[in-house]
Symmetry: C2
Subunit: 288 residues, 2 copies
C-alpha cells in the first residue's frame, strides 16, 4: 500500500540468520525458509521495479558489514542488555544481531540502490515487537552521521482464542494459515474463534454481543474491505439481531477468498522470480 501510494523503493530484509540463531534451525534450513517467505511476500504483489528483497545469509558483507561494524562500535553490552534483556547465558550471536537488524536503516548499506544518497531517510514498517531494534538504531544514527529511520509499527494480530492468547507456531489452531484449506478455515473459525456472543440465543437477543472481545469481528476489521458492511455487522451483531454463527460464516467466506487468492498468486511465483527480486541490481526508476 505504501509503495502504491508514495511510489517509493522498498527494501525487504529476511533475517534468516536471526531464525537460525534464535530457533534450533540449521543455516541451510533457515535459508530455505527465507526463500519460501520471499514467495509469500512476492505473492502480495510488490512492484519488482521498485523492490529489493534480500536474505542476510546471502547479502551480509561489503558496505552492509561496514555499517554493522560502525553500529557495533556505538553500542555497549550493557546497552543491549537494557534494551533486549540478554543474559550471560545467551550466545554471542544474539548479542551481535542488533547491528544486522539496524544496518538496513541506512542507505549506504545498499550501494547498488542508493549510491551517493547516504542522506536519504528511511521509513520502516514493522511489527511492534521489532521496536527496540529501531529505537537503538535511531539512537546510533546521528553519531554515524546518518538520518534517523522513521517507523510505522503494526499491532499484533490477536490469536483465534482471544486477545489474551498468543498466535503460536506450536498451536496450529491459534491462527489461520495461508496454507489452510477452506475446510480448515471453516473448522477453525467455528470451533476456536473466541466469541463475544451470549451463552444462549435468548440472552444474545436481549444483551447483544460484546464486540470488544469478539475475535470474528476483530478479524473482519482487518480483512473485510467494505467499511459499510463492517459497520452494519457491528451494529446488528452488537444489538443481538445477528448471531455469532452468521458472523463466523461471513468471516469464513472472507478469509477463504483471501487465502485462495493468495494461494493462486503464490503458486504463480517461480524460483526465477525470487531470484529476480533478490538480484543485487540497480532499480533505475525507483522514485517514479
Amino acid at each position: 500500500y505504501l509503495q502504491d501510494a508514495f511510489k517509493v523503493p522498498l527494501v525487504i530484509q529476511l533475517t534468516d540468520d536471526e531464525k537460525c540463531m534464535w530457533k534450533n534451525l540449521s543455516v541451510e534450513e533457515s535459508k530455505r525458509l527465507a526463500r519460501e517467505n520471499a514467495k509469500d511476500i512476492i505473492a502480495c504483489g510488490f512492484d519488482i521495479s521498485k523492490t529489493f528483497i534480500f536474505q542476510d545469509f546471502n547479502y551480509v558483507g561489503g558496505t552492509f558489514y561496514e555499517n554493522m561494524v560502525r553500529i557495533n562500535k556505538c553500542v555497549t553490552y550493557n546497552k543491549v542488555v537494557g534494551i533486549f534483556g540478554f543474559t550471560g547465558e545467551d550466545h554471542i550471536g544474539k548479542i551481535s544481531f542488533p547491528a544486522v537488524q539496524a544496518a538496513p536503516s541506512f542507505p549506504s548499506s545498499f550501494p547498488h540502490l542508493f549510491s551517493g544518497k547516504d542522506n536519504l531517510r528511511s521509513l520502516i514498517p514493522c511489527a511492534i515487537d521489532q521496536d527496540p531494534y529501531f529505537r537503538m538504531t535511531r539512537d546510533v544514527a546521528p553519531r554515524l552521521g546518518y538520518q534517523k529511520p522513521a517507523l510505522i509499527e503494526s499491532s499484533f494480530f490477536p490469536a483465534l482464542q482471544g486477545e489474551t492468547g498468543k498466535m503460536s507456531a506450536s498451536d496450529p489452531n491459534s491462527a489461520i494459515y495461508v496454507t489452510d484449506s477452506g475446510k480448515d478455515i471453516k473448522n477453525k473459525v467455528n470451533k476456536y474463534a473466541f466469541s463475544g456472543g451470549q451463552d444462549s440465543i435468548e440472552n444474545h437477543r436481549k444483551y447483544g454481543a460484546n464486540l470488544e472481545v469478539d475475535i470474528p469481528v476483530k478479524y473482519l476489521g482487518f480483512f473485510l474491505e467494505d467499511d459499510a458492511e463492517l459497520e452494519h455487522i457491528k451494529r446488528e451483531y452488537g444489538a443481538g439481531r445477528m448471531l455469532t454463527g452468521e458472523v463466523k460464516k461471513r468471516l469464513t467466506e472472507v478469509l477463504t477468498e483471501i487465502v485462495e487468492r493468495h494461494c493462486r498468486a503464490r503458486a504463480a511465483v517461480t524460483d526465477e522470480m525470487v531470484d529476480a527480486f533478490m538480484a543485487v541490481r540497480p532499480l533505475p526508476n525507483m522514485f517514479n
Copy 2:
C-alpha cells in the same frame, strides 16, 4: 618458510574490522591500512599461486558469514567474558569479533579454495596473544562437525628497552620499523637497545656480558642467519672478549641489510599485485 617446506596453500586474514573496532579508526582508514599491511606481507615473498590474502571488510559474507553465525551459536556471553575479559562497558563489536577471528579456521569459509574439502585441517601460525581466539575455536569445532585447527604460536619480540618493556606504536624508539633508515637503525640500536654488558670495560673484561637480558644478542638470535657466527658472538661477548659496541655494530649491519632488502621488495609491490593476491579465485595447484 612453512609454505616453502610443505608446499601448502596459505590463507592470510587481515582483520581491518578488528583495528576499526579496537582502535579509534574509521572504516575507510582501517581498510587502507590493511592494504598497506598486505604490501609488507607480499614483500616477504609469498607464492601467489598458493596464497590468498583477504581483508575482513571486503570478504565477510557468504559461507564465511554462515560459519560466523554457526560459531556464534556455540559461544555464550559468559564464555567470551571468561576468555577475553570483556566488561559490560565494552561495545558489542568486540563481543561479536571472536567469530570473525575463528571463521577462517574452517575450510568451508573459502568455497573458492576448498569446495568439497570441508574436512581439511588447518594450521594457524599466529602470535601467542591470539591464542584465546583459537582455543575457543578448537572448543567449538567438533560441535560444528569441523576439524580442530592446529596452532604454531610465535613468542613476542622483546622491545629494544628490554624483555620487560613492550614494543609500542606510541613509542617509536621501542622497536625497529621496516620504514627506518640505516641512520635511524644505528641510532636506535646504539642508544636504546638494552645491553647486558658491564658498566665499565674493566668489569666487562672481567665478568663478561649477561646474555640473558642483552637485547642485541636476542635480536641477532632472530635475525642472524649464520648460526656459527651467532654462537661465536655469544661465546666471545659472554666471556667479555667482545664489547657491547661491537655486537651493536653487527646487529646494525644485519638489521640495515634486512630492512633495505624489505624496502626494495616492498617498493616493487604494486596495487595490482595486492589486487591479485586478494582476488577471490581458485588456486589450481595449491597442494603441489
